[in-house]
């Protein structure tokens, strides 16, 4: 990268890196917040979180427009395209609701049976579920990549002060993420529901002794976590193509974000996601693109070794 002679160019470069990092990190944050609240409150390790992201992306495609089918079983059965063409805003509203319900079903029929079994069994069963979702989609819709069109009102560049032209959709991603994360944060920090969930996280037995049922708040927490992953699929879809592998690809960075930030900490997930995103963009834009992926894993490894409970995690959470 050429560092400009004048301070303005330097500032513009730094701001561009920060904005791109913010956008890159936004998807990590959306996934990690859901993963983190499920892990923090329910003590449930969800390796199928990436699959929920994947479902969100495909549902988003389905609701937004018409997608032609070239291979896969549906095409062989004579179906040429799928989609109901309601547009992007509709997808942004419907997908989280659908994935929320999927989350509720998952909690009732999968997670509940595994709360008392070891962590490893939880990992195994959700890993298996993730494979089922991914391979079902691959078998039915084919493995090829589908472009996810950006909504027309948010495509193209926008002129920002200092930075110059910046893709409008990337700003959209940042804004949507900010709204959603703030919403969840408010829900957990400032409502009675959030109070019960937090109390349950600290000492579930005590909360039950006080006569408060925890099973419903827990169910809702799982649903919210799932819905966030679904939205992430819709929001992240237009940034890259959609194919059956994107779930497994996103799962690992999402988990890293959770453990770096500290399990159960929404603020932690935000800080960690932005750190990873910014580091990745910084490495790419300074000419070390080859190291951009290695960099985030190395950073994660270092943080976890120095501070095992995560940046904002408390000592108590350490199992």
């Amino acid at each position: 990268m050429r560092w400009g002679e004048s301070g303005v160019t330097l500032l513009a470069d730094i701001l561009t890196i920060l904005l791109n990092g913010l956008q890159q990190g936004a998807i990590y944050v959306l996934l990690a917040v859901g993963l983190s609240i499920i892990l923090g409150t329910l003590k449930f390790v969800n390796f199928a979180h990436g699959a929920l992201y994947l479902l969100g992306a495909y549902l988003g495609l389905f609701i937004t427009g018409q997608v032609p089918l070239n291979n896969g079983q549906l095409a062989e059965w004579g179906i040429q395209s799928y989609g109901i063409g309601l547009g992007f805003i509709a997808a942004l509203i419907i997908v989280p609701i659908v994935v929320f319900v999927i989350g509720l079903l998952m909690e009732r029929f999968v997670a509940q049976a595994f709360y008392d079994r070891p962590d490893t069994d939880q990992i195994l069963v959700t890993f298996g579920l993730a494979i089922i979702v991914q391979e079902l989609l691959r078998a039915l819709l084919g493995g090829s990549s589908q472009p996810f069109p950006q909504p027309s009102w948010a495509s193209g560049p926008i002129a920002l002060p200092v930075v110059g032209n910046f893709p409008r959709w990337r700003l959209g991603v940042i804004a949507i993420t900010a709204v959603l994360v703030l919403g969840v944060y408010g829900l957990v920090e400032y409502t009675d529901f959030g109070l019960i969930v937090q109390a349950g996280t600290l000492d579930g037995e005590m909360v039950r002794l006080l006569g408060i049922k925890l099973s419903r708040p827990y169910l809702v927490v799982f649903g919210i976590g799932a819905a966030l992953a679904g939205v992430a699929g819709v929001v992240g879809g237009p940034l890259a193509n959609v194919n059956p592998n994107i779930g497994t690809e996103q799962l690992v960075p999402a988990f890293l974000t959770v453990v770096i930030g500290g399990v159960g900490k929404i603020e932690g997930a935000v800080v960690a996601g932005l750190m990873l995103g910014t580091l990745q963009v910084l490495l790419i834009q300074t000419g070390y693109a080859a190291w951009s992926q290695v960099g985030i894993y190395a950073l994660a490894a270092i943080i976890l070794l120095v501070r095992p409970q995560g940046l904002l995690g408390s000592e108590v959470d350490v199992s």
């Binding site: 298996g128 691959r138 894993y297 070794l305 199992s319």
Partner: protein, 363 residues
């Protein structure tokens, strides 16, 4: 090893038991528990396997070879998951890492298959020492995530910064394997008496390694060392209270399992003359988890069976008319059912049924 005399007494006692109680099932059980019989069963198994596989199951020898290679990998993985209770999601590092090390060693140092095998395995052990040392600082899910982290880091390292060594996304293609002990062409045919059982030398080489690996795993698991692994799985804190250095045993279990992964990875490079980059990706770690759990954790032959079953579905069932395109989906469903209903895998299920039939009390 210091445990041999005691082992011998135990076997003798079991013999005496068998004589007293008589029954066929008991006699079989006492035979089964002896080390020599485990090894003999494995020898017979790998010897007749390609014949049965090729003639009755639509198989072919190359796939049989691959099954044994992954079988070795799974047997080692089970020492960690089934016996010590640690779930690693980064074992592809040791499999793929050993494959790369073996490949690079064969291209630039020596092409002798035995030395290549040794180099690959040594590399895996060294790597496991470092990764294990760092990952084992945390238990439970953190261990799974840390191993996953190191696994992905190595994948991306091999993908581009180290591409000058690994040939990046195209995979390492310059594997160069010479003759075994300077005379036997490892990719050639076999001499006469063996031709009745198998058609190429590579299978024989891999089969011998399989037998040695199973014997080694069996010896480790039946030694006091293996008992400590089980104690850690059952109750880590209690193991610590009796004065065992739990952390050290865990690290050793990790390194031992990586050594098996290293043997398998080196054989994989020798078998295919090629190392794909995907052999380091985390889904490869996931594959070995599925194989081991499907076959049966905590048993010696379960993982071998699981590896065979996985590859059978992947390569043979995928060619079936209607079922074919859904092979991966079928595998996922079978895996989830196994985790939910048979936590001890298919082999564990067979064991359970056999114990019921034999009418024996729980061991």
């Amino acid at each position: 090893m210091s445990d041999e005399p005691r082992d011998a007494t135990a076997t003798a006692a079991a013999d005496a038991d068998a004589e007293v109680t008589g029954g066929l099932a008991d006699r079989w059980a006492s035979f089964r528990d002896r080390e020599i019989s485990t090894v003999l069963l494995t020898v017979v198994g790998v010897a007749v396997f390609p014949f049965l596989f090729n003639n009755f199951l639509d198989g072919y020898t190359q796939l049989a070879t691959l099954m044994l290679i992954y079988g070795i990998f799974a047997v080692g993985f089970d020492i960690l998951l089934g016996y010590t209770g640690l779930l690693s999601f980064g074992h592809a590092v040791f499999f793929g890492g050993a494959a790369y090390a073996a490949g690079i060693f064969s291209a630039s140092v020596s092409s002798s298959p035995l030395l290549v095998l040794l180099a690959g395995t040594a590399f895996a052990v060294l790597l496991a020492w470092i990764v294990g040392f760092l990952s084992l600082r945390r238990g439970g899910i953190y261990f799974a995530i840390l191993t996953l982290t190191f696994g992905q880091m190595s994948f991306y390292l091999a993908a581009s910064p180290l591409a000058f060594l690994t040939n990046g996304e195209n995979g390492f293609t310059s594997v160069d394997i010479g003759h075994l002990l300077g005379v036997i062409d490892i990719h050639g045919g076999v001499p006469f008496p063996l031709t009745m059982l198998v058609d190429n030398m590579l299978y024989v080489f891999v089969a011998v390694m399989t037998v040695l690996s199973v014997a080694m795993a069996n010896r480790i698991l039946h030694s006091p060392y293996g008992t400590v692994f089980r104690a850690i799985r059952e109750n880590e804190r209690r193991a610590e209270f009796v004065g065992l250095d739990v952390w050290r045993y865990k690290l050793m279990a990790f390194i031992i399992s990586a050594a098996f992964a290293g043997i398998a990875g080196s054989l994989f490079a020798i078998e295919g003359n090629y190392v794909p980059l995907e052999s380091l990706y985390w889904t490869e770690s996931g594959r070995i988890v599925i194989m081991t759990v499907l076959g049966g954790v905590g048993s010696l032959f379960g993982p071998l069976f699981g590896a065979g079953l996985y590859l059978y579905i992947e390569n043979i069932v995928s060619g079936f008319p209607t079922l074919g395109p859904f092979w991966h989906l079928i595998l996922g469903v079978v895996f989830v059912v196994a985790v939910v209903v048979f936590p001890d895998g298919i082999w564990g299920g067979i064991d359970y049924v056999r114990d019921k039939v034999a009418g024996g009390e729980d061991k």
